[in-house]
């Protein structure tokens, strides 16, 4: 007898599927459940959009501004004179 998982995919399983990490047995459920497939496709689309968001960078003088405000400790064991 062919045993098929009948329960709908959980949110965790849908995330795994969207990232290509869901096992074959549970992935098979998507071939027979249009409801889960629709949710999973919407989820994948959202995850792709999030992953493609622009990476922002601060202004060019950012590092200089930070370093100007940091106490740089004197290296230990330094030689004097």
């Amino acid at each position: 007898m062919n045993e098929r998982p009948q329960t709908h995919l959980t949110a965790d399983e849908i995330e795994l599927w969207a990232t290509g990490l869901l096992g074959a047995a549970r992935t098979f459920h998507l071939t027979e459940c249009a409801e889960c497939l629709a949710v999973a496709e919407r989820e994948r689309k959202l995850l792709v959009e999030l992953a493609q968001l622009q990476r922002f960078t601060p202004s060019a003088d950012f590092a200089e501004k930070v370093l100007a405000q940091v106490r740089i400790p004197a290296p230990s064991g330094s030689h004097h004179g």
């Binding site: 949110a11 959202l46 968001l53 930070v66 940091v70």
Partner: protein, 163 residues
């Protein structure tokens, strides 16, 4: 890290101030860093705390983009919500409008801050659920719940925007 703060506070100059504050805290407290904790997670934790503290202080929350809390219908909420370009924009405002004006960015902005942190840390910065739980001092189950709810809300906002 700057991207996270910027998306949390949606103000470039303020995000730079908070990012500076974060790095200064990190560099001045470097001796207290515990190596069992991932270094990048430690920085993100400090950055996220800085952003959340700011939002709490200023009480800038998702309602500010959703319109008046006393609105009784979606139309009233829309009418009372601030619109981009309502006032004359400075060059920096224009940059922010361009950078954060897309549908997905606006949808993220509508999430409550806790959801926003979690979704950005997970799906933009790529941290695991366990790392996020440690960073935010939240139970793992709570982090999962926040992220699932945030994704549901985002899908709802995006589908509403595209209809």
């Amino acid at each position: 890290m700057f991207s996270l703060i910027y998306r949390m506070v949606r103000d470039r100059a303020l995000a730079e101030d908070l990012a500076q504050e974060t790095f200064i805290k990190v560099l001045n407290a470097i001796k207290t860093y515990k190596p069992e904790y991932k270094f990048s997670s430690w920085i993100f934790k400090i950055a996220n705390n800085a952003a959340i503290d700011h939002l709490r202080r200023r009480q800038i929350d998702t309602l500010s983009l959703d319109g008046s809390p006393s609105a009784r219908s979606p139309e009233e909420m829309h009418a009372s919500a601030p619109q981009l370009g309502d006032q004359a924009e400075s060059p920096l405002d224009e940059v922010e409008s361009r950078e954060l004006g897309g549908a997905i960015e606006q949808a993220i902005a509508r999430l409550r801050p806790e959801y926003r942190s979690c979704i950005l840390l997970r799906h933009v910065e790529g941290h695991s659920y366990e790392e996020i739980a440690r960073m935010l001092d939240l139970p793992l189950g709570t982090v999962k719940t926040y992220i699932h709810r945030a994704r549901n809300e985002l899908r709802g906002y995006l589908e509403g925007a595209r209809e």
